[in-house]
């Protein structure tokens, strides 16, 4: 009996090794196949991804909460040290902003009157959805964020995402309760923009660095560092005039933009539901007011 078992083992062991090697090669092949298939934008793969992200996003949300709390605590302590100066600074800023407010109110009204005189169409109302950032890209190859809100909350692919200081990117993938944001610094990001002052249009092209480049500007465009860049609204997916950043450098034909967004402190972001009647498809981008019933 013992002998039989021994010989069986002698036979089984190499078989096991062979099987393991085979399985290993299979897995390598599957990985490569997935990579190739992923390039082809298969709907099935995308679904697998969104479903899994949906399942994992609550876990991430819970995990990121203590980290957020800790960060807040540290910030609080740091702020305590400079409370008086901060207060003084804020008071001055408040005075300045109040002056600005009265100016902009007057301008707003003036604008409104001109619009009425010209019978110009106003842009549709933009509704923001606030969502918590529960994940970042955690690696050098992509620049994305994971949000804890999804199609259930009205988020659709293509919608603009803004932080407290300006545009940060757009929604690239959406599940039921999670969404992935492609940041404007990612190398796949292309955003139609306009130079605020000279009104020249271009495309903001990300390259995984912190400062994306401004391309496809007309040849005669005059650009100098410090110029503000805002969304142009071309393509009817993003609302026009949203601040993005300023031109940081113009060197040998390459224009780099410094975004207003503070990439390391994005805790809550707004996803903008925006719909130009007749231009966007209701089924894919129902960012209109009817669905949300928040207006009126």
């Amino acid at each position: 009996m013992a002998l039989q078992q021994g010989s069986a083992w002698r036979l089984a062991l190499p078989l096991k090794v062979i099987f393991q090697r085979f399985a290993f090669m299979m897995l390598i092949c599957i990985s490569i196949a997935l990579l190739v298939l992923g390039k082809a934008d298969l709907v099935l793969l995308e679904r697998v991804r969104t479903i899994s992200t949906d399942a994992l996003s609550p876990v991430l949300g819970t995990l990121s909460q203590p980290v957020d709390a800790l960060n807040k605590g540290i910030e609080r302590v740091q702020e305590l040290a400079s409370l008086v100066e901060e207060n003084e600074r804020l008071r001055r800023e408040n005075e300045r902003l109040l002056r600005w407010q009265s100016v902009s109110r007057a301008l707003d009204q003036e604008n409104e009157q001109y619009r009425r005189l010209l019978n110009a169409l106003t842009d549709p109302l933009v509704l923001p959805i606030s969502a918590r950032v529960v994940g970042d890209s955690g690696g050098p190859f992509v620049r994305t964020l994971l949000l804890s809100a999804g199609s259930r909350d009205g988020i659709r692919v293509g919608q603009a995402v803004v932080g407290p200081l300006g545009l940060i990117g757009r929604v690239a993938g959406v599940g039921k309760n999670s969404a992935r944001v492609l940041l404007l610094t990612d190398l796949n990001s292309r955003i139609p923009v306009i130079l605020e002052k000279s009104r020249h249009k271009g495309i903001l092209v990300g390259d995984n660095s912190t400062s994306p480049t401004l391309e496809y500007l007309p040849n005669n465009a005059q650009v100098s560092p410090g110029d503000r860049v805002v969304t142009s609204g071309d393509g009817a997916m993003l609302p026009a005039g949203r601040p993005i950043g300023i031109v940081s450098s113009v060197a040998d034909g390459q224009i780099r933009i410094q975004a207003f967004a503070d990439w390391d402190r994005l805790e809550y972001v707004s996803v903008l539901r925006y719909d130009l009647p007749g231009l966007t498809d209701r089924a894919t981008n129902p960012g209109d007011l009817g669905e949300s019933q928040l207006s009126n």
């Binding site: 393991q20 399985a23 290993f24 897995l27 390598i28 599957i30 990985s31 490569i32 196949a33 997935l34 990579l35 298939l37 992923g38 390039k39 793969l45 697998v48 991804r49 899994s52 992200t53 994992l56 876990v59 991430l60 995990l63 990121s64 980290v67 957020d68 960060n71 950032v133 529960v134 994940g135 970042d136 890209s137 955690g138 690696g139 050098p140 190859f141 992509v142 620049r143 994305t144 964020l145 994971l146 992935r180 190398l187 796949n188 390259d207 995984n208 660095s209 990439w263 390391d264 402190r265 994005l266 805790e267």
Partner: protein
């Protein structure tokens, strides 16, 4: 006839045996949790790779190739890189670790560290090349190198934690 071990013993064994997987899974989640440290996001250390390397060396039967593959997929889904990229790289790390076990196990820690420097450098470079080919552009390599450096620096800490786990919970498994 061999007596079947009691059910509770088997459950205990399975639970303990799955610790390496759950640890790796947790590290994969931790990698994408935003820490909001200045400039840290893109250079977050590749904790999952350390985990796969360590367990493939010390408990290869608890970190078999299918588990490595699964961990890679989860990691890809979480970080948003093309599906299959991490799986491929982690499988390569796994293969190297398994085939070089006799060199590392039971030797001084510094040797394992040195080995990991080579493995991590190789896979980082390979990942970069594959990612560049995938997107058909030149991805900035500086963050990749910084990530590599951070990963190598944090390696002793993670390995120390794993060692503690291994000694306290996986002694008999």
């Amino acid at each position: 006839m061999i007596e079947q071990p009691p059910f509770s013993y088997q459950i205990n064994r399975i639970l303990r045996g799955s610790i390496p997987f759950w640890l790796t899974f947790f590290l994969a989640l931790l990698t994408v949790v935003p820490l909001r440290i200045e400039g840290f996001g893109p250079v977050t250390p590749a904790l999952v790779m350390i985990s796969v390397f360590y367990w493939s060396l010390h408990r290869p039967y608890l970190m078999p190739a299918p588990v490595v593959f699964l961990v890679g997929l989860i990691s890809d889904i979480l970080t948003g890189v093309p599906l299959g990229l991490s799986s491929l790289m982690l499988l390569i790390v796994h293969l190297v670790a398994i085939s070089q076990r006799h060199v590392f196990v039971g030797k001084a820690f510094i040797l394992t560290w040195w080995g990991y420097v080579w493995v991590a450098s190789g896979t980082s470079l390979l990942t970069w090349i594959v990612a560049c080919l995938y997107s058909l552009t030149l991805i900035p390599i500086l963050p990749v190198l910084l990530q590599l450096l951070l990963t190598i620096l944090i390696f002793p800490l993670i390995v120390w934690c794993f060692g503690a786990v291994q000694n306290s919970m996986l002694k008999s498994v």
